[in-house]
Subunit: 263 residues, 3 copies
C-alpha cells in the first residue's frame, strides 16, 4: 500500500530543499523535463559535455540518464557522469528509451548498466523486456505490451542490477526484485504525450534526491505523476493541453489532492 | 479537387496502423513534431546517430529528413538513413529548412537530393526557389514570397528529382510536376508558430507511410494540417496557444470536421 | 525612468522590420526562444555549425549566444559567429547560463568574452557574480541571490567588457557601468518557467537589432518581458500555462498595455 502522507512528505521536502537534478537526456523532452522538475520543486540542470559532467555531478543531488537521442559523445559523457555519481553515492536513474529498437540502443544500455550500477531503472514494458532479454525486438519507443505482463522481467532485472525497476504503463509496477508496489492511477491519454515516460524518470530523480529508500522514491514519484495526470486530464482537450496541465498540476499539487485521488 | 472522404480514410488508417515514422530533424521542433505525430495516430521516433539510423529505418514505415539545425555528423546520418530507406522502398520526405540562407544549407540539400531521390520535398516558397536555383538568396527560415508564385519552380523541382513537391503557404501547392493540387484552408497566424512547416513535413511522412500515392499523401497531410490550424485558431489567443491547440485538433479530428471545413 | 512610448516605438519597429536574429542557444529553450522571437515580431534562425555560422551572421541583424548546453564544437562555432558579428558591427548578446556551476562554463565565458567584446550580457545574479569573480560558485542554473545585490558586480562587469550588463531577477538591473535602469515589473512565478532568462536574452537580441542604444535596447526588452509576464500570469494556473501565455502576450502587446502596466 502506498501511504498518501508519505508521498506528500516527499513533495514537501522537494519544495523545501530544491535539490539539483543533473540530466543527460534527449533533445525531444529537455524543455518539458526541466519544466516538470522546476514545477515539482527541484532545480534542474542539463549538461552533457565530457568537459563538465563530472563537475556538475559534484554539485548535484541526483543524476538522470536518458538515452532517447543517443550518440557516441553523449554516451561517453553518460558513462563519466554515472561513474562520478556512483563514487559520490548520489542516486542514478536510468531511462533506456527505445531499448530493443536498435542494437545500438540495446548495447549502449548494456554497456552503461554493466559499467555502473544504477539506483533505479524506468522504462515501458517493451524496454524492460528488451533490457532483460536482448532477443526481444521493440517497435521504436512506444510499448507494445502491458506493464503488468513485464512484472517478472522487472523483478529479474532488479535482481540482475541490484536496483529498483519501474515499468510504467496503465498500472505502474515498481520492484526491488522482492517487493512489488503498484500505482493504479493515471489516464489513458498520457501515452499520447511524447516523453511522458521521460518526465516520470526525471521526477524519480528528484524524489530519489530527497528520499533515501529507492523503492519509495520511485513509487512516490510515479504516484505523483499518475495523480497529476488525472488532475490534468480533467481539463485537457487533447494531449498537448495534457502535457501543459500536468506541469501546472505538479506546481499546484496539495496533500489533499493526493489523499483524494490516490487509489 | 480534394476528396474529404479520402482524407478521412487516410486519417483512420493512420490511427489503426500507427506506423513508425523515423525523424532526423532539428532541435527546435523535436518535441512538437513528436507530439504532432502521436496525436494524428503515428508512432514517432527520433534517432540521428550513424550507429543506428540504418537499423531504425529497417523497422520504420517512413523517413523524415529535416535540415533545420544541420551539422556534418547529422548530414552523414541523414545520407545513411536516406540510402537505407531508398533500398527498403519506404517513403522519404525531405524538408530543406533555410535552403538559400547559407551556402552550407543549399549545398547540403543538393548533396542529399542528388545522392538519394526523395519521395516528397516540402518547403516554403523561398526554400523551393532556392533548391531550384542556387542563386536565390533567402532570409533565414521565413519565406519572403507567396507559395503560388513558386508553383512553376515546384513543378520544375518535381521533374528534376522525380518526386512530389509541396510549397506551403497561404495556399499550399502540391505537384508531381504534372498535376497540381491546392489546399486553400489554413489561418494567417500559422506562420507565427515556429516549426509549423516542420510539423507539416512530419505529417506528410505519416500519411506517406500509409498512402502509397505520394501526391495524395502530401495533399491529405496538408489538408489535415490546414483544417486543424483553422480549428485551433478558433480558440487561440496567440501563436503559443495555436501551437498547442493544433496538436489537440490532430487528436480530435473527425470525418465531419473535414467535410465541414475543407474548401 | 523608462519611457513607455519609447518601449512601444521599439516594439512597433520590430514588427515592421522583422529583423533576423541568429541564435546559437541551448537545446532546452530553442522552441520557446524561436516562438518568443516570432511573437514579438522578429525572424529567428538557429544555426550552430561552424560550416555556416559566418554566413548566417552575414544576413543577420543581431547575434544571440547562450551557453546553456555547451560542448566544444558549439563553443568553436560561437567564437566564429561572435567574430563575424563583431566585424559586421551587429549587436552580440551573451547569456552565461550556469556560469560558476562548473569550471568549463566559467572558463568558456572568459574565453569568449575576452576574444570578442559583447554588446550586452544578461544573466541572473549568481551568473553575473561568477563572471566577475571566478571564485564564486553557483548552484546549477538558478540564482541563489537577489538581482539588486549584484548591482555593483554588474557595473564592474560592464566596465570590464565595455558593454551593457543585465541582471534579471525580481527587479531587473540594467547598466552600462555608469547609468543604471531598473525594471520593477514581473511576476514571482516567472522563475518557475525554465529558460525564462533565455527568452529575455533573445528578446534583448531582437531589440538590439533595431535600437542602436544598447542600454535602451536591453531596458526596453526587459520591460516588455516583465509586462508580458504580468499579463500572462493573470490567466495562468501554473508555470506551463505561464510559458504559453507570455508568448501570446508578446504577440498581442499594445502600447496601451505598456502605458497601463509599466511601473
Amino acid at each position: 500500500m502506498i501511504q498518501p502522507h508519505a508521498v506528500w512528505a516527499d513533495v514537501e521536502k522537494l519544495r523545501e530543499t530544491a535539490p539539483l537534478v543533473h540530466n543527460i537526456t534527449n533533445f525531444v523532452v529537455m524543455n518539458t523535463t526541466a519544466n516538470a522538475l522546476l514545477a515539482i520543486g527541484a532545480s534542474p540542470v542539463m549538461a552533457h559535455a565530457a568537459e563538465e559532467v563530472t563537475d556538475m555531478v559534484a554539485i548535484a543531488s541526483a543524476l538522470v540518464i536518458n538515452i532517447g537521442t543517443l550518440s557516441p559523445d553523449w554516451v561517453d559523457a553518460m558513462r563519466l557522469a554515472m561513474s562520478a555519481a556512483s563514487k559520490k553515492k548520489i542516486p542514478i536513474v536510468f531511462d533506456p528509451v527505445g531499448a530493443g529498437a536498435t542494437p545500438y540502443r540495446t548495447n549502449t544500455c548494456k554497456l552503461l548498466l554493466n559499467a555502473v550500477r544504477p539506483t533505479i531503472i524506468r522504462g515501458n514494458a517493451s524496454e524492460i523486456m528488451a533490457l532483460l532479454n536482448e532477443d526481444i525486438k521493440t517497435k521504436g519507443v512506444d510499448s507494445t505490451m502491458s506493464s503488468i505482463s513485464a512484472q517478472d522481467a522487472a523483478k529479474a532485472l532488479a535482481i540482475r542490477y541490484q536496483c529498483v525497476v519501474v515499468v510504467s504503463g496503465e498500472i505502474d509496477v515498481i520492484t526491488d526484485g522482492t517487493d512489488v508496489m503498484l500505482v493504479k492511477n493515471g489516464h489513458p491519454m498520457m501515452p499520447k504525450v511524447t516523453g511522458m515516460g521521460c518526465t516520470a524518470t526525471a521526477l524519480i530523480g528528484a524524489f530519489a534526491a530527497i528520499q533515501p529508500n529507492p523503492l519509495l522514491a520511485a513509487t512516490h514519484a510515479m504516484a505523483v505523476m499518475s495523480i497529476c495526470g488525472e488532475m490534468a486530464a480533467r481539463h485537457s482537450a487533447g494531449p498537448a493541453t495534457l502535457q501543459l496541465h500536468i506541469i501546472d498540476s505538479f506546481y499546484n499539487l496539495t496533500g489533499s489532492d493526493i489523499d483524494t485521488i490516490l487509489i
